[in-house]
Every structure is written in C-alpha cells, then in structure tokens.
Amino acid sequence: MNTHGVWAIYRFEMARALRTLWQSLVTPVITTSLYFVVFGGAIGSRMQEVGGVGYGSFIVPGLIMLSLLTQSIGNASIGIYFPKFTGTIFELLSAPVSAMEMVLGYVGAAATKSVVLGLIILATSALFVPLRIEHPLAMVAFLILTSVTFSLFGFIIGVWAKGFEQLNFVPALLVTPLTFLGGAFYSIDMLPQPWRTVSLFNPVVYLVSGFRWSFFGQGDVDVGYSLAFTAGFMALCLGVIAWIFRTGYRLKN
C-alpha cells in the first residue's frame, strides 16, 4: 500500500480546510447557533416536549446530521472536483496510487472534517440546551459512519460534476430539502397520514432517527433499519466508485 501517497492526499486536504478555516468550521457553527435562536428559542419555547425530550435538545441530532450531510458531501466533492477543474488531476492519475488509496485520502479527510465539525456543533449545542447521550459509542459510530458514507457520496458528485453549478446541485436541491423533511426538526410521528408514510421513503429519516436514538434511546424507526440503510448506502457508493475507477468515468479521457 502506498501509505505515503494516501497520507499526502489526506494532509493536503486537511491543509486546505485549515486555509479556509472560517468557511470549513466557523460558518457551520454560527449557522447552528442561529438555528437554536430561531427553532430552539423563538419556536421551541412554544412547543411541547417531543417524546419526553425538550424541543431544543430534540433538534440537536437533526442539526448535527444536517451539517454532517452537507459538509461531508461538500468537502469530498470539492476535494476531487478541484483537481479536475485546475487540471492537476493528471498528477493523481499518473501516480502509483490505487483507486482505494485515492478514495482513502480524499474521503478520509472529508470524513475527518465532518466528524470534527459534528463534535463542534455538539459542543456548541451544549451551550444552549441540556444534552444527554444514552449511547455515546453508538453516537460516535453513527457520526463516523454517516460522515464516511456521505463523503463517499460527495466524492461521486465531485467526479460527476462538470461545473460548480452541478457541484452545488445535489447538496442544495436534494440533501438539504430531504434533511429538512427528514425529521431533523420534528418527529415524523407528528405528521398526518399520508405524509408520515411518504416520509418513510426519505432516506434521511433513517439517518436522523438512528442518530437521535443514540442520544435519547428513541427514534422514528428502529435503529436496525437506520444502520442497515446507512450501510446499504455506503455499499452502493463504494460500488459506484469502483465502477468510476474501472471505467475512468469523467476522470480519464
């Protein structure tokens, strides 16, 4: 294994995040704080508890998941898209680095940034609302699993994108709406039929639900489904990436 190569990509990507520290970490923290002001403060004070959990605390897993999904996709997609855009991809493709090693470097860095971000949002949340984490190991596992899975998804988007518009298309027009409609700010039990059933077709419901379970011991769907979905989506992403490298889709001429 080309460990030097993997480490070089990983360090390069982490260094890029440090160069854009404001954009990478501070902005999501400010955004999360604003969510607490609006949802937790203004609306939450008029809401009842959800499943025995105060509304402010209830939305914490959803908020973390919202940032986790968008940042994982954003970090990984820009990581591989930028070399394509600038033409420096030639060096990666001509280097003795396997597909797996390249993915390990890019996705590893993107997932690391997302996990750190998730933990920072968690710490920020603790400043606003009381928090309890019933299954801390499961919480960390979900955090890592989701970050890795959606970084893989972001890597695919970065390879697929032909321009910055396409790069932003999936996070802005697909992931954010699905997260808002995926129970980030409410329990889907609060929805009337048929919307409750419709929501079960939203994949983000399973992510938010599983993550919320690790905090409060309860979720909209069984935690097993959440795990199965995340693992299934990860397998799908890995399959697509394997196909990309086998065919050279939008990487090689």
């Binding site: 080309n2 030097h4 190569g5 030639f90 001509s94 680095v97 090689k252 001429n253």
Partner: protein
C-alpha cells in the same frame, strides 16, 4: 535492440466518439537516451504520453516500464515515471516547497529534504520555496512542474512541450537542465513543436501523425538518410528560363532569376556537381557566388508529414 526501459506494443486508443487517436503504436525507448517525439497538432503525441503515464486508458496493446506492465503492475511502473504536462496545471494556492514535497510523497517516497533542496536549487527555485505558485511567472511555474516531476527521482521523464511559450533564455536553460538530467542517467522523452529542440538534444527521433508512428530513427541517421543538400549559384546575369541542356540536373530558378538552385542527395556516390559546373562553363553561364546548405530536421519533418498527407 539496446536495453529498452520502455516498451509500447500495439497500443491503440479510440475515443467514445470514434476518433482513433493512436493506431497500433509500437515503440521502444532505450535506457538513458533522449527521445524526441515530433508531430503536428492533433497527431497523438500527448495521447501517447498520457496513455503511457496512466492518464488515458488504451483501447488495446501493452506498455511495459522497466519490466513492469503499466496496467497490471501499475504502481511499480508509474513510480519510475515523472511527467511534465504541456499545460501549467499546478495548485496555485500551494507554496513551491509544499507542492514538490506533496508530489514526492504521492509517488510513494518518504521525505528527503536534502534532495528536495538540491532539486529546487538546481532549478533556481530555492529562493522561491515559500512563495505561493500564483505569485510566480509562467517560466517559474514550468520549473515547479519539472521539480514536481523529478521529486520522486524517476528513471524516465516525460516532457510534453517543455518550452512552449517560454522565452529563448529560459528555453536554453531548459536544454541545459535536460542535458544534466541525461548525465545522471534519466531517460527523457519529449514532445516538441520546436524542431531545433529535437535537433539540439535528441539521440533519436520519432515522427507521429494521425495517431500512427511513421518512423523512429537515430537523429543523425535520419538527417543523413532523408536530408537533402542544396547548392545556390548567384548568377552574374539573371536568367529567364533554364536552358534545355541543363534539364538532367532538375534545376530551379529562384530570386527572380538571379539564383540557380540545385538540390542533390548528399549521400549519393555522384552528386552531379562537377558535371553541372562544367556544363555551366560550356554554356557561358557565370556566377559570382556559390552557397550550399543542408536540410534541417524541420525540413525532413515537413516532407514526411506532407508525404503522409498526400498518400
């Protein structure tokens, strides 16, 4: 055959749209030589280099780099190659030192500060090591690309149009650098539009056009084999037409009849010059000056490509 460090066998590349960029290319590169790949725009030079380096997947054929298959044993094969691309594709936000160190690690080598320093000094980049690449001139950026390509101490260096768009002084510097690399045993394959570049440096020349490798030849042998010589006679009195008695020499009139040109094969046993001069004397045609010249590699290249297009 000399000891080949690179062997390309039956390599073809057909793009999705049906364009055949490479057509059954066979090529062997000798260890330690400087090989110049010549060809007009769109001939397939960059595609061939990209295919060898792993950037383009060949449709068929095999590539072996120092005994390692470029597909099945790509890690060992690629570790031996450094590539300087035609475009100035380099991360503008990185510093010179960081990007060169990145390249070394990417190619699987551990850090070697002394080597990197020597490399940057050799390329006159050491003083700029902390500068961001966006702050450098075009020529300096090209040097950075060369430093990145050499950072992992490759055995083979591909230079795709290394002096395109650089001034004469820098071009001369590049030539010197290439000469120094060769003395260290690095095999160099370069593509160029500047025939004088190939003429100056190359040991062997390959001519590619339409994706086909037309020929591979020792530069000197090629020039000797295909090179023509010309003899120009500056006439005392301009001539309107060539007398029929001179027909066997296939002369031409240039410079509005002031110059009589004779093109001959320098390698031929009989050049025909003595007999021509005698005949001119018999016909009373006098000249005040005589000048001979030989074809350059550029002339040979143009002839080859023109013949190919006509065929």
């Amino acid at each position: 055959m000399h000891d080949p460090i690179l062997a390309v066998a039956g390599v073809s590349k057909t793009y999705k749209g049906g364009h055949r960029a490479l057509d059954t290319v066979d090529l062997e590169i000798r260890r330690g030589e400087i090989f110049a790949l010549l060809g007009p725009n769109g001939a397939g030079k960059t595609t061939l280099i990209s295919t060898i380096c792993g950037i383009v997947t060949p449709s068929s054929g095999t590539i072996t780099v120092d005994g390692h298959d470029a597909i099945t044993d790509f890690k060992r094969a690629r570790a031996k190659i450094g590539l300087v691309p035609q475009e100035l594709s380099v991360d503008m936000f990185e510093t010179v030192l960081a990007t060169v160190k990145f390249s070394r690690r990417l190619f699987g080598r551990s850090g070697h500060d002394a080597y990197i320093e020597e490399l940057l000094r050799d390329l006159s980049l050491w003083d700029k090591r902390s500068a961001k690449i966006m702050e450098l001139s075009g020529g300096m950026k090209r040097r950075v690309l060369i430093a990145k390509a050499l950072s992992h101490e490759p055995d083979i260096l591909f230079l795709d149009e290394p002096t395109a768009g650089v001034d004469v002084s820098l071009r001369r510097d590049m030539w010197k650098l290439i000469g120094r690399l060769r003395t260290r045993g690095v095999t160099i394959i370069l593509t160029t539009h500047y025939i004088e570049e190939a003429e100056e440096m190359a040991d062997r020349v390959g001519v590619i056009t339409g994706g086909k490798l037309l020929l591979v030849e020792e530069k000197t042998a090629l020039m000797a084999k295909l090179g023509k010589r010309e003899m120009d006679l500056a006439l005392v009195e301009p001539m309107a037409t060539i007398p029929p008695d001179l027909a066997e020499w296939h002369l031409s009139l240039e410079n509005e009849g002031h110059t009589l040109r004779y093109v001959f094969d320098a390698q031929a046993e009989r050049t025909g010059i003595p007999s021509l001069l005698r005949k001119l004397g018999e016909l009373g045609i006098t000249f005040k000056d005589l000048e001979t010249s030989k074809s350059s590699l550029e002339d040979i290249f143009v002839d080859l490509v023109t013949e190919r297009r006509a065929a």
